[in-house]
């Protein structure tokens, strides 16, 4: 049943904005709240160090966390409907595996962030191109795409294993391992234009496509009977979703659970209608990743890998959702 609670849209805006502002005030380096406010308002007073930390270190990182969280959650929500499978997330099509291989390959030769991100992005697109190739050859049914995704993901995981095997254990192997765990630690303003552009185009695209997404959750035959060009729409959704995931993973590394758990939490909150599910997933995904990344950079002197935190939060959250599902079906005490 679709809920009609009119307060939801305001909370949707408030939640990520509150998390965003809170994150700017928190960090390992103690900066007084008033100094932070002065820096954000462009007033004189705070030292250059404070300005650099807030404007050049925290701000781009928090912005990146918001975009990555929103992207992964929205794509997860869209793919769960598209593939009619609640256990699907943005990694189903092998895109993350392709990106991981691309990043690892680049890390073998350089630690330059821009080159690593570009390589991750390119190989994420190569992965989806291979999946699409399978789709073109054998029909773009969800089953073919899923099988294609599993095959391509396995291929890139094997190649990634090969790279890790030959990587220098003193230098490149730790860098690859850390990248695979996910982090926004190295985020700079110069990293953001591709992510912001793709997010700025991709999220509105999914919001505009909401009613088609609703129709794609039924069978292909029924969707076609309602005038939907299923194959074309599915291909476009996969392509745009891939761009969002590729841009996110290229910057942040492989971050699990956001794309799987957040859409389910959003469904509990606003119901299954994609008109509300897409903005709710985006808001929850952004807020969640901002808060987790804030925890990752402030809890200890050393950074906690983001993928570790999303896993630690995601597993119990998913289990609670599963218990709720069983209770709804009357299968649990």
């Amino acid at each position: 049943m679709i809920r009609k609670d009119r307060s939801v849209p305001w909370i949707l805006v408030l939640l990520p904005v509150s998390a965003f502002i809170l994150a700017l005030f928190l960090g390992r380096y103690g900066i007084h709240i008033l100094d932070t406010v002065r820096v954000l308002l462009g007033l004189d007073g705070p030292s250059d160090v404070f300005r650099a930390l807030i404007l050049r270190v925290r701000l781009p990182r928090v912005l990146a966390a918001a975009c990555v969280g929103a992207n992964l959650a929205v794509v997860g929500a869209a793919f769960q409907g598209l593939f009619r499978n609640p256990l699907v997330d943005s990694r189903i099509l092998g895109v993350s595996s392709g990106a991981a291989f691309g990043a690892a390959l680049a890390l073998l030769f350089t630690s330059q962030g821009m080159i690593v991100q570009t390589s991750a992005f390119i190989f994420a697109l190569v992965a989806i191109a291979l999946v699409m190739l399978v789709g073109v050859r054998f029909g773009s049914s969800t089953l073919v795409l899923v099988i294609g995704g599993i095959l391509v993901g396995a291929l890139f995981n094997s190649l990634l294993g090969l790279i890790k095997y030959v990587a220098d254990p003193l230098s490149t192997l730790p860098a690859i391992t850390y990248w695979l765990l996910g982090s926004l630690n190295a985020t700079q303003w110069s990293d953001l234009p591709p992510l912001l552009t793709i997010t700025g185009v991709g999220l509105p695209f999914f919001a505009l496509l909401r009613w088609r997404l609703n129709l794609l959750t039924v069978s292909d035959t029924e969707a076609m009977a309602m005038g939907i060009r299923v194959r074309l729409i599915r291909t476009v959704i996969v392509a745009v979703g891939t761009l969002l995931v590729a841009a996110s993973v290229a910057l942040a590394g492989t971050i699990g659970w956001i794309g799987l758990v957040i859409p389910h939490v959003a469904r509990v909150w606003v119901g299954p209608d994609y008109g509300r599910l897409i903005p709710a997933s985006a808001a929850l995904g952004a807020a969640t990743l901002i808060l987790l990344d804030t925890l990752a950079r402030t809890a200890m002197p050393s950074e906690i890998p983001l993928g570790v935190l999303t896993g630690l939060i995601g597993v119990p959250a998913f289990f609670i959702l599963f218990l709720r599902f069983l209770r709804t079906r009357g299968e649990a005490q």
Binding site: R28, Y29, V49, L170, S171, P174, S302, E303
Partner: protein, 337 residues
């Protein structure tokens, strides 16, 4: 007749000596008792650090297969290394140890890494090849590893091990004496980064012991585990006076000195960002060359306080332990002059 008795007695004594020396039993750094038939003439090292213990004790020519830390292929070996070990192309190996290859080499003993080669050691023991496992992450464990290695390399090696330990202690004591007038707040506060700008050492790593041996204070000594990823805010909070970059990886001092976000750091403002030099093994790892690592760090931290001659120490170390003569260019690279 007397000569005959003397000859018979000598043969008997030799036989007794031979029997006494036919095997030795040691406790390796994994706490296992290992019986090794003597003499060991053919050695395999699948421990990139342990290999250097063998060289330092004058037995490098007994290695049939050897791993060298940070060197996977000939192309990744430095010119110095190729000159130092002409057999490198023949014996260099890397990756997961190949049991059959080790057996085929005729290895009488394998030295391996206690943190990752337990299973390989079991397999080799089943095949009758003894395995020594090393775990050295402190100066004391390094010395213990060198003594352990000497135990199966013969009496000459024992004297060499004693000399190494004496040299190591002499260097640490000399630095301590030179710096004893320095108060705690005058000690260099050092950040040791890794292969990326925000990767740093923990308090449990050998590099922390090196910094302390050189009279410095590692600002990351409270961290635990292996390499830690930290963020710029934390580095600014530590505000180190000196930043050290290891002799591997791609980071150069200019990457830090020219980085606008790092400009407020004491170390950057005073241009005290250094990359450790490297001739053969990386001096920040628990290899015998780390003795020079301590000396280099102390000279870098306190150029006006230490009294030893770094160039003499370097030349002497390579001559005594690696039978290697440095070129003028290599020596200049090591001393930074």
């Amino acid at each position: 007749m007397t000569k005959l008795w003397i000859a018979v007695s000598l043969v008997f004594l030799c036989a007794l000596t031979g029997l006494a020396q036919s095997e030795t039993t040691v406790i390796d750094q994994s706490g296992r008792s290992v019986t090794i038939p003597l003499p060991v003439e053919i050695l395999v090292s699948v421990h990139g650090i342990g290999t250097y213990y063998v060289y330092a004790l004058g037995a490098g020519d007994r290695l049939a297969i050897a791993y060298y830390i940070g060197v996977k292929t000939l192309s990744s070996a430095s010119e110095s290394m190729l000159r130092w070990e002409p057999r490198l192309a023949e014996i260099l190996s890397y990756g997961d140890p190949n049991i059959e290859e080790m057996v085929a080499s005729g290895a009488q003993l394998v030295i391996a890494d206690g943190s990752q080669h337990e299973a390989v050691a079991e397999q080799l023991r089943d095949l009758g090849i003894p395995v020594i496992l090393y775990r050295a992450e402190t100066p004391e464990e390094l010395k213990e590893a060198v003594v352990l290695t000497a135990a199966f390399l013969g009496s000459g090696a024992q004297a060499q091990a004693d000399a190494f330990i004496a040299d190591y202690d002499r260097m640490v004591n000399a630095i301590a004496t030179d710096l004893e007038s320095l108060a705690e707040n005058e000690r260099a506060r050092v950040l040791f980064v890794g292969t990326s700008l925000t990767k740093v050492i923990s308090g449990e790593m050998y590099q922390t012991h090196l910094i302390e041996g050189a009279g410095g204070i590692s600002v990351t000594r409270e961290l635990f585990g292996s390499w830690n990823e930290v963020n710029l805010e934390q580095i600014l909070l530590w505000d180190p006076e000196i930043i050290i970059i290891p002799p591997y990886g791609l980071i150069q001092p200019a990457d830090i000195l020219d980085n606008p976000d790092w400009q407020s750091l004491n170390a950057v403002q005073n241009h005290r960002v250094y990359r450790m030099p490297r001739i053969i093994a990386p001096m920040d790892t628990p290899v015998p060359e780390s003795l020079l690592g301590i000396a280099w760090l102390a000279r870098t931290f306190y150029p006006d306080h230490v009294s030893f001659n770094l160039a003499e120490e370097i030349v002497g170390f390579y001559a005594n332990y690696y039978q290697f003569t440095l070129t003028d260019e290599e020596l200049a690279r090591m001393t930074g002059q």
